[in-house]
Symmetry: C2
Subunit: 506 residues, 2 copies
């Protein structure tokens, strides 16, 4: 069993155990509730109106107390006491994968490096004799390598019905590989991994990574572990759609077909803003403790809130109009400041479900990697320079990791000058020229707020305008077909799947 | 001087005093910074990569320390010591208004009541002899009554160039009134006011209010203070656009013309979700303390984060593309998890600027009032029943405020059933029939994300379809005219102003 958040022995297994041993959570909630009723009656016995209730905060306080207790249990009794009993369900996503261990250092786009690193992966189907039928699937922000169930992990994967014998990505024909990205927490090297240099958790001494760093790490797996010279296809949606382009950009001769769904060629400031709010909310949870929470209570409240904000950006208004409308969770109750409308309880549950399932630091670093994504020529040139500098510095005799802490508090220069869209587009065109001769399928979804459809149109248009003989196909799902927004690739498999199948087999 | 957040004597005046007496904030930041560098070097001296820096958290910690000190100063020396020296600049918004004191109780749409209440207001222009030229301006969520400068407060108002002699709302012709809404913190009764029943801050014993409650309170001012039988117009944008419709709905014979800009006839679940995340983030700040922070350090971090999220919903992607693009605040620095791209420092500043300028509880209650807005027939009928029950209960001999705390922890019923858009639209049509014979100008902005343009189209369409002889005008600003999103009414006065002027004078 391996848990990404708390090292080898999971706080969550402690939690699961407590839940199994009785109705502790219910008891705790009742205690907190009773205390609060007493306090508030003392406080407001003579007010004009009754004190509002805050069931959502009672719940979080009870959870915090329970996580604290589980933690105390962990510290007092030692890890072995938690290993008895059945595996908690979440462990399914952290078992049943293989790990590629690369002992060679990797140098990063922003100047850091990893002396060695792990990439967790799973495969489906069989590699043919000339190793020409491999498809590399790239994941979105928080997904594991478990795209589909397999003998060592029977739990449905995140693209369960998209991949398989006779499915859109047909494992009777193709050998499919999916990895957990560099920076993730499901088996690949990430902030919750130990730094071999000092055997401490990386935490926020983990260097800033980019999407291009992720694909360079994946390429080592593809070439070293499988001896694959050329992928049949690089396929991904969301951040996976960034990676599929980035893989082609980094290794244009090592991939035949590129599929980018609900992705972009460079992150837009509005998407950056949306991710920024999630990161700031998470970092403001005092349990985050500047990234040093391993072995302590994790920032579960910050994670819950960040996920709620993210969920708003993953779906669309019309979907929620149909699904929730203005219905309240319980019409008989007085309106409340805690979740009240059905759409609020939905968000609350989405946050609650996620908050202990994923490592907070992984979320921060990968979210930041998405912001930094830009296949424009200037950005890619700078990255190359910094990577080379890091490598030269490492190979020189007096290597000292460069300090990221400036001697004085950082001051925003904040020189706001209007950007020039034409210049910026020309820079992107120059950046993408390198791969414009290849075969692309770009898919966009009109109801997507996070990666608006004009970003997918932009990819296709810029590639086409290069006139380098590429085969650029563009496919768009209108609001008549999907109102699922950014999550369409997980929810409208049929509409996404048909063009993908056709493109892969052509 | 009056501060809404901390009662009569402001914590902020303590802060201003500290800032005035020296470079205390800078000193504090340097101290925090030095401590952090020391801690992190101890922690990671041998790691592969340097520890990331968190200047944004250093800043918040320094601010927290300073607010704590100011608070200690406040408690030790007593309020009088803070009254020396010039007025801090924020005090401009809490002076120079009149207060209408209503001694009659008001009963609320969700069953609570106020035994008495205050409405702060300002006026411009002169009321004519037959009292027929009054225009009531309704504000958005966080605005004060200070829509425009006037002799008692020379600071520019939030609609400074929209109102005035010869302006779009011409004070040579009209008598303009603007109030601070019920629930606000700029002079009107809100959660930071004292409950006359026990002389304690209302805090979260403040009852849930609605937009319709707000306009019923305003109407007392209009009729009692000014003896106005009929307003020439009810005008507002954003939540003000809700109020202008609500005023007409509540008192159809007491208003001649209705202007609703970037408003809606009922809140959409997506807008509810966007406000939900802001409320939950704010309520998760431990300084919020379930609303009981008056006289303590206020939840400034939660407020900052809530405002950052709100700011994302107030503007649009294309505006930020042009304004910030993918520019970073300081290209020479390594990318950071703290604000880094220019759009991030913009959001950070927007949050920072707001976080002590507005009362956190006012934000929560008014944000909730917006969620609850629904002029559909079912909702309005229920509200009437609850209001009457509250009044009957109050007038009965054994009046006890109804408890809002259920005996057992609240459990979401969470019965998700698809809504029926036709039914829902029919309900809205039935609700709006009551006012469909009147004169309306509805303005929508295509780039608005928070109040999407189809909501303004809906108002106009539903009113027109009623065929009750109303004069329903609809005016829409496309993305060719404004990319300022929801904030267009504050930023494109020319395009909003011309149709408003014409409508008011017709």
């Amino acid at each position: 069993m391996r848990s990404c958040v708390f090292g080898r022995h999971s706080l969550r297994s402690g939690l699961s155990k407590s839940v199994r041993t009785g109705s502790e959570l219910t008891d705790l909630r009742t205690q907190v509730w009773t205390r609060w009723i007493q306090t508030s009656s003392d406080k407001n016995s003579k007010g004009s109106n009754p004190q509002l209730a805050f069931p959502c905060l009672d719940k979080l306080e009870a959870k915090n107390e329970m996580l604290g207790r589980s933690q105390a249990c962990f510290n007092d009794a030692g890890p072995s006491s938690l290993e008895a009993g059945p595996e908690p369900s979440y462990a399914n996503v952290t078992t049943g994968f293989d790990v590629f261990k690369c002992k060679k250092p990797i140098f990063l786009d922003n100047g850091g490096y990893f002396p060695e690193y792990h990439i967790a992966y799973e495969t489906w189907g069989s590699l043919n004799s000339d190793r020409s039928n491999a498809i590399l699937i790239h994941t979105g922000l928080s997904a594991s390598s478990h795209a589909k169930s397999q003998p060592r992990n029977a739990k449905p994967g995140w693209w369960e019905n998209f991949i398989g014998p006779g499915k859109y990505i047909d494992t009777d024909k193709f050998f499919v590989i999916c990895t957990n990205v560099l920076g993730g927490c499901y088996g690949s090297t990430g902030p919750s991994s130990k730094d071999p240099a000092n055997n401490d958790y990386y935490a926020t001494s983990f260097p800033i990574i980019t999407v291009n760093d992720m694909v360079r790490a994946q390429r080592e797996l593809v070439t070293q572990e499988f001896n694959i010279k050329k992928l049949h296809a690089s396929v991904g949606a969301s951040m996976g759609g960034m990676q599929s382009l980035a893989y082609a950009w980094e290794f244009p001769d090592e991939v035949e077909n590129i599929i980018s769904i609900s992705g972009c060629a460079r992150s837009h400031p509005y998407s950056i803003a949306l991710r920024h709010t999630q990161r700031q909310v998470l970092m403001s949870d005092s349990n985050w403790n500047r990234g040093y929470y391993y072995g302590k209570i994790p920032p579960h409240i910050g994670m819950k809130l960040a996920r709620e904000i993210a969920t708003v950006t993953y779906r669309s208004g019309p979907e929620w109009e149909y699904r929730f409308g203005r219905n309240r969770a319980d019409e008989s109750k007085t309106p409340a400041l805690c979740p009240d409308f059905l759409v609020e309880t939905y968000l609350d549950h989405a946050g609650e479900k996620f908050c202990l399932e994923y490592d907070a630091n992984s979320l921060l670093y990968i979210s930041k990697a998405m912001d930094l994504f830009d296949l424009g020529s200037r950005n890619m040139e700078k990255a190359l320079v910094r990577r080379r500098q890091a490598e030269q510095s490492y190979n020189s005799s007096n290597f000292i990791p460069q300090s990221a802490i400036p001697p004085e508090p950082y001051q925003d220069k904040n020189i706001s000058k209007p950007t020039n869209p034409d210049e910026s587009l020309a820079d992107l065109r120059k950046g993408l020229e390198k791969i414009a001769h290849k075969k692309f399928l770009v898919i966009g979804v009109e109801s997507d707020i996070l990666f608006p459809v004009w970003q997918q149109r932009e990819i296709a248009q810029v590639l086409q305008e290069s006139n380098r003989g590429g085969d650029i196909r563009y496919f768009e799902l209108g609001t008549d077909v999907s109102n699922y927004g950014h999550d369409t690739f997980l929810l409208r498999l049929d509409h996404i799947g048909d063009p993908v199948r056709e493109f892969l087999l052509k």
